[in-house]
């Protein structure tokens, strides 16, 4: 029960890291969650699956854009 704020930050950084290093071709396409299936549903009902795929792709893009602060954070968190 002794869940500290630092544990929350650690969890958040490590989960974001997991999302960022997720390789599309190797895993998501095999599951049928590739990038071409995500943009299908236009109209006012994107659906849950399209939202999740959008989220994963945007997290990946943002993290890869800010690569240096991101790497520093991940290193610091995983070393402590």
């Amino acid at each position: 029960m002794a869940l500290t704020l630092y544990a929350l930050i650690q969890t958040a950084v490590l989960c974001t890291n997991a999302l960022a290093v997720l390789h599309e071709e190797r895993f998501l396409s095999k599951l049928g969650w590739g990038v071409e299936q995500g943009v299908g549903g236009f109209g006012d009902d994107p659906g849950v699956k399209a939202q999740i795929l959008n989220l994963i792709r945007s997290v990946r893009t943002v993290m890869r854009g800010y690569i240096i602060p991101y790497l520093c954070c991940v290193l610091l968190i995983s070393l402590s």
């Binding site: 029960m1 002794a2 869940l3 500290t4 704020l5 544990a7 929350l8 009902d45 994107p46 849950v48 939202q51 999740i52 989220l55």
Partner: protein, 305 residues
């Protein structure tokens, strides 16, 4: 430079120097260094009464002339004001302070009614938040509006009651209060983040802000406090009974409050509307409401043995 003595002592000395500068300009520094009182009578007597800020400090002050010290003080205070303004402006970008003020605009009547509603929501008929020209009315005027006063007070009271409960079992130590505080805070933050994530995934167009969600998640502390206090006073059976009552009350409260905000209007009026999206939203509302009793039990069961 040795600025011994308080700030008021410094200004007193500066004012003294201002007042007497016209008279004793030539031997001003000598007067400060020589405190024997053998100089010109009235001023020396005046100066000796000033002996509180000790002479060691004033010998350092003699390096500053009068207008310079005033100028320095004025510049320093203007710098401080500028710095504070800049900090306020920048802080407002991260934490919307003006929006926060809306959530604390409560009065005693509202708090009483809301607490009653949290424990007994079954008789309340009208759950709509009233608006006033597109902005929600302040909580003082509308019982249904969410506020942050009750959640924050409830959080702090929960910590105190937890400390009390641990103390009655001889398990208390001051670090445990901090551990409890950060634990409860972490669960709260995680709950708000998960609800935000699920709202994003289901693409609900709602005007629920993050602070609204924080307020709704904080309402469960009231039930937790009632349960723990009942458990302390009357034993475990009373704890379970009152917790059950409060869990049911919070469940009904959350469903009725969130239904109006999350579901489409037709479904909110109670008519059964078919359709995958509305079903998903209904499940989401029920999941959020069901998470509250789970957290209430999880955060309090170890306090009542």
């Amino acid at each position: 430079m040795n600025y011994s003595g308080t700030h008021s002592g410094f200004t007193q000395q500066a004012n003294m120097r201002l007042r007497n500068s016209s008279m004793d300009d030539s031997d001003g520094s000598q007067l400060f260094e020589n405190t024997s009182g053998a100089e010109v009578g009235p001023q020396a007597g005046y100066r000796n009464q000033q002996g509180g800020p000790p002479p060691a400090g004033s010998s350092g002050h003699s390096l500053l002339t009068d207008p310079m010290s005033n100028l320095a003080m004025a510049y320093g205070s203007s710098l401080a004001t500028q710095g504070r303004e800049m900090m306020d402006k920048n802080l407002d970008r991260f934490i919307p302070i003006s929006k926060l003020k809306y959530y604390f605009a409560v009065d005693t009547l509202y708090v009483g009614k809301k607490l009653g509603l949290l424990v007994f929501p079954y008789m309340h008929k009208n759950w709509e938040v009233s608006y006033q020209q597109d902005t929600p009315v302040a909580p003082r005027f509308d019982v249904n509006a969410p506020d942050l006063y009750i959640p924050s007070m409830g959080f702090i009271t929960y910590l105190l009651v937890a400390g009390l409960a641990l103390g009655t079992q001889n398990r208390f130590s001051p670090e445990l209060l901090g551990v409890h505080a950060s634990s409860a805070l972490v669960w709260l933050v995680m709950e708000v983040l998960v609800v935000l994530l699920s709202l994003y995934l289901v693409t609900v167009n709602t005007d629920l802000t993050t602070i609204d969600l924080l307020a709704f998640s904080g309402y469960k502390y009231v039930g937790m406090i009632v349960g723990v206090v009942a458990g302390l006073l009357f034993g475990r059976t009373a704890y379970y009974l009152s917790l059950l009552w409060c869990c049911a009350a919070i469940f009904v409260f959350m469903i009725r409050s969130l239904r109006l905000k999350l579901l489409s209007e037709a479904a909110a009026e109670g008519r059964l509307v078919r359709g995958a999206r509305n079903q998903l939203r209904m499940y989401l509302t029920m999941a959020i409401a069901a998470a509250q009793p789970i957290f209430m039990y999880w955060l309090t069961y170890h306090l009542v043995r």
